[in-house]
Symmetry: C2
Subunit: 349 residues, 2 copies
DNA sequence: GGACGTCACTAGAACGTTCTAGAGCCCGAG
DNA sequence: CTCGGGCTCTAGAACGTTCTAGTGACGTCC
């Protein structure tokens, strides 16, 4: 087995090993490895060479232990949620340029939020970025007392002190979906909601507001849904039984919309000819050529950038302007992505 | 802001703080916190009480730094791959009872495997569990020289010294799919493959073997596919153009199969009446009521258990039996999950 | 020619744990 | 009574880093 020669078997090389080999002090090696100033060019090269030779790799933990900064952002996300995984990718990208690392902790059926957060805290993360957290406000407040907490995609009403919120304007998103459909000529527009999921209440409200605004209050109808394909399909089956069927559906999210699409397809109800469908999230799913779903896009890249930005701002000074730290909410405007699942209703008056 | 009183603002409590409060030595607190023996019942209670009062939480990093064990298993996975996320959940579950933690590092378009692994190594993981790694064998060998490496779902031919492999018998899986279809009466069975994806070659081979075995060698046909819905849909569209259409399709995985299903649905080709479809993985997707896909199930729970088991075995002794450590391969048998996308062909002779 | 800067480098103390020795105590066996 | 052995507990040294406070050596400025 290829093992670097000169290194005691099984023990990974440390600063001291590099220092010995390069004939300098440990402190100087530390300086070189960090790229800090205070080392001559020639020595620097010599140290780097020595490090390369024995395969030195800095020990992140020891490093963090000493410098009381871990430069670690803890991210809690749902393993099965496409929107979350997209977001995680954005977070990685956003954290690197500002010199932070991401520590991931997944929430899954067998692993609750509590567990996930405990792991992150044990890892000495400096701040927490929680994607769509379900924890009660009190718990979030408790966490915020210990370290900066950013909630992404979960609105907090009333605001929780110390918890920043980054979210898409769900309300506005649902309104845009309705506006789009109305502009196409639809009047019987139904909403399949997301139940108690984060953002669901806002989207419901946005839908109602828009319907009212267009004088369609009496036609507004909200069907209980959820965030999986299954929920969407179930709701769609309900719609299939209706006699004057609605001509358009605004679904809670893309997964839900996909379920709707599928149910219609199976029932031989052509989309968008007989019924239009709008999703929410603009996830990978929606973009697949064969689905090509009209949807409300959340600016994932921006959400991620802002989440990291807020956390970092809290960490690096930002001298808690008023009072203590009130918990700032940043709302991003969504945008409608028009694809092929929406069209004017068949019998436009 | 609620802050634990008695603690210096902004600094998290340490063993020393607990010790001071409980009036004992630091070492004793350490003993109590670890649940090690060597502390009296009364003192133990008193220490725990003190810890609770000031909100003490052990510092994982310092802990690991000292005891040269990190008890950390580094897991590399693809953010967008349902099969991987399912597996990750299983890994969490498998690691906990044996006293190990999981450190996650995601691979995404913007974040290559190299990057992901570097992060894990920096975190001082004791072993690496790589889900469907694409890295060249040489790279894996290099890693294996430093620490135990387990490759899940990627076969290594020839075996890489020091790298254990845990995988499903892809070959057998594809054979079972074909057997099932043949038993139903199908003869024109096409395979939509996974290109260069891990496992694809084996599934292709299994398909061919089974076709031969049933005397259908001349009807065997492999269409280039891939691992996304899009790939499946594209291949399905090709099939739609055929005049004597095949009566059954074995897709590389569930996502691919879903794409196939969708394309057929849109073309008004009823499944399974006119054509049967089999997937691979038995992912969440396949189980959705409205998809209800016949598929080849991989025993995810078992794969996860074994992966953790192999890593731990390497770590805890297992005195490298023969020679050095040859790299052990464990192959799990897949099972066919019959759902509603397969049926006898319409015109059974 | 002394005071002062700057530059390259170093010694040694942190950081928050765990671990190794060993100290003090009480109890029962001889 | 003494000895050994078990308990409970403690002091202090690790672990691999970074940071603070230097030490010399060499210029530069009046």
């Amino acid at each position: 087995m290829p093992r670097t020669p000169g290194t005691p078997e099984g023990k990974r090389p440390t600063l001291a090993d590099v220092a010995a080999r390069a004939g300098v002090s440990v402190a100087l090696v530390s300086i070189v490895m960090r790229g800090a100033k205070g080392a001559g060019a020639a020595t620097r090269e010599r140290v780097l060479e020595a490090a390369r030779e024995i395969g030195y790799r800095p020990d992140a933990r020891a490093r963090l232990l000493r410098s009381n900064r871990s430069r670690l952002l803890g991210v809690q996300f749902g393993l099965q949620q496409p929107f979350h995984t997209d977001l995680v990718e954005g977070l990685y990208a956003a954290a690197e340029p500002v010199g932070y690392q991401i520590a991931l902790s997944a929430v899954a059926p067998s692993r609750g939020e509590r567990h996930a957060v405990e792991a992150l805290l044990g890892d000495r993360c400096e701040a927490l970025i929680l994607l769509g957290p379900q924890a009660p406000a009190a718990r979030l407040a408790e966490l915020a007392a210990q370290l900066p907490v950013v909630s992404v995609a979960r609105r907090l009403r009333p605001a929780v002190p110390g918890v920043d919120v980054i979210r898409t304007d769900d309300d506005e998103g649902a309104r845009r979906a309705v506006d789009h459909l109305v502009a196409l000529g639809h009047r019987d527009i139904v909403h399949i909601d997301g139940g108690r999921a984060p953002g669901a209440a806002d989207r419901r409200r946005g839908y109602r507001t828009a319907m009212n605004r267009h004088g369609l209050a009496d036609r507004a109808r909200v069907l209980p849904g959820g965030l999986t394909e299954e929920d969407g399909a179930a709701a769609a089956r309900t719609l299939l039984g209706d006699d004057p069927r609605p001509t358009a559906v605004v679904a809670f999210n893309d997964r839900c919309a996909t379920g709707v699409l599928d149910a219609f397809l199976r029932a031989r109800v052509p989309v968008p000819d007989e019924i239009s469908v709008v999703g929410f999230d603009d996830s990978h799913l929606a973009r697949l050529a064969h689905i090509d779903l009209t949807t409300v896009g959340q600016d994932i890249r921006r959400l991620a950038d802002l989440a990291v930005g807020r956390a970092v701002a809290r960490l690096e000074g930002e001298p808690t302007p008023d009072g203590e730290s009130s918990g700032k909410e940043t709302v991003i405007a969504p945008h409608l992505v028009t694809r092929s699942t929406t069209a004017p209703p068949r019998n436009t008056p």
